[in-house]
Symmetry: C2
Subunit: 355 residues, 2 copies
């Protein structure tokens, strides 16, 4: 057992490493895990000191509230290697802030910033060799908190676990995605938890997404639950639409996640002198634009998928294809943001964070 | 290792029992667990045979999808002892049916009826001594299914665990409850998962309920997320309102749980020649009735809380008290349903199920 300089985070190193078993040239998304993980317990009204320990199973009582009442939240982040072998994070304090926004809504105790940041940095340093160096690959970082306290009473748990796991990963989607604009099912309610990265927001999307996949689509674009007329988000991504030369995305709300890639893309697009509109966007506006040819591009934006170009969408049993653009906004913005993330270009926004 | 007659369920008995440590005269709700539990794994596309094993911790990979994507569903049931020491269940096949309705919406594989019923009966027989005999106590039964498969891709798991745990329990609420009619937060969306017993439906209620508790209320009555004008349910209970001599409850929908206590109460009330209306119920109707004195009773109905009389409600910063009734519908209906459950009266509906 060794402790780090600041002594907030203790480190217990694994006796063996699995790194030699990993094919870094053929990484899928989020299915390979590094040698260590961060664990931090909430007990007796306080977060205990974070610990880096060997990656391994979590043991819970069958009555732990995570199994019954869905009290769980998470974040998605990435670490990037540059050509000098330095490691970079992207706006990590925003992830910490958002995790606590989710925590509050789910009645989970907030995690102090230094526990999050020192825990994260210590873990990444211990498993730094695991960060992929291949083009398009990165270290996907999954901080999460769940209710580990026990009992069948439907009320908040008295114990929680904050953990961080590391998954060296390739692309989330391979190629362009075809989406279905949803007319029946919904992702979130007004006054609900749609803005939080709460576990339950994801489980509710799986069945409607399966139905869409059976029809030949990759993802669902969610609309508001009352009229199904307003475009919200795609579950794992925020949605951007380009009509003529204007880039449009919906405003965040209590139904839509305040995506870090989303807000970064808005700033980069403005910096590129692209006309950006953050406003409510109707399905009929998008359909009309698809019909008259003014719909030039659609893409999703999120940490896992980065920028994911959409090849076409389905709506009311009709498919609409988008044009093939060589030099669209999506490819321009993706290059700008990944160049910042991988330390290939100037970071005028101050988003890069050196490990 | 012994197997039951039907050989579907294997039994591994605990070498020791915790039963002597339990004070059956002072049971709280859902915090004492019996010696055994049922475990049934879904792997390689099929549910494996259910096993009764000693109650003990569940070990999961940190990437198990239950921790990240909220894929979990549950049921609440009870077993009752009569004065002859026979054990009774109440409409257990309805719980199995509803578990599979929840499973479908959460993209969880459905559990076969015989796995559910034989697993449940075998477990109850092994731990039959744990079923409380005290007035007002019962064995709370918690069947649940969660995603045990691994990976950070936001998609359904490929492995699941179906489990049943037993918690000898006293009352869920002690005394009458005071409720707050919600004007801002919501429990469910049109096209969402509100009708399912999904974990995420509960986590989302904790924070608004905490806010209500801070104001002196016990529970929140949820309203629709669009207008907050229609009364839906109380999260752990369906809601009944008595205006003059008419008993009113909202219709089930994709936002409201199809409660087994709810539908039983409707049938018993009809059998008592009470005028029952299953229709949309507005907040303004209830407030008007409270003001003019025609609001006689409100109560919640659910497996855990049985029938829980409401002493008053808050709405728009005003509190409305309900009259103290000696012989109201709530006490009559509670007696009728618990007499059936505890085998104290004829069961003309065929709901009782002998173990």
């Amino acid at each position: 057992m060794e402790t780090t300089a600041n002594s907030l985070v203790t480190v217990e190193k694994s006796k063996t490493s699995k790194i030699d078993q990993v094919d870094f040239d053929n990484l899928s998304f989020g299915s390979t895990f590094s040698d260590h993980m961060l664990v931090c317990d909430y007990k007796n009204g306080a977060w205990e000191n974070p610990k880096v320990v060997p990656y391994g199973p979590v043991s819970l009582d069958p009555s732990a509230k995570i199994f019954h009442y869905g009290q769980s939240i998470f974040e998605g982040m990435k670490a990037y290697k540059d050509t000098e072998d330095s490691t970079w994070l992207f706006r990590p304090l925003d992830n910490h802030k958002r995790l606590n926004i989710s925590a509050k809504r789910l009645a989970i105790p907030e995690i102090p910033e230094n526990y999050f940041m020192e825990g994260l940095k210590t873990l990444l340093k211990v498993d730094e060799k695991w960060i992929p160096k291949n083009e398009g690959s990165s270290m996907y970082i999954r901080p999460f908190i769940f209710a580990s306290g026990n009992g069948f009473h439907a009320s908040p748990a008295n114990e929680y676990k904050f953990m961080i796991c590391l998954a060296p990963s390739g692309a989330y989607f391979s190629g362009k995605v075809k989406v279905l604009i949803e007319e029946k099912y919904s992702r979130s309610a007004n006054g609900g938890v749609g803005f939080a990265k709460a576990g339950g927001n994801y489980a509710g999307q799986f069945y409607p997404t399966q139905l869409a996949v059976e029809k030949g689509y990759n993802q669902v674009i969610w609309t508001d639950d009352n009229t199904h007329e307003y475009i919200e988000e795609a579950g794992a991504m925020n949605i951007f639409v380009r009509i003529n030369d204007t880039l449009i995305t919906g405003p965040t709300s209590d139904r839509i996640l305040d995506g870090i890639t989303r807000k970064s893309i808005i700033e980069i697009a403005k910096d590129e002198n692209i006309n950006v509109e953050v406003r409510k966007l109707t399905v009929s506006e998008v359909v009309t634009a698809a019909k008259d040819g003014s719909l030039k591009e659609m893409f999703g934006a999120g940490t896992a998928a980065v920028i994911s170009p959409i090849s076409g969408f389905g709506y009311k049993e009709t498919d609409y294809d988008l044009p093939e653009l060589k030099e669209g906004f999506a490819s321009l913005l993706k290059k700008r943001i990944t160049d910042i993330q991988y330390n290939k270009a100037e970071d005028k926004f101050g988003w890069r964070y050196k490990l």
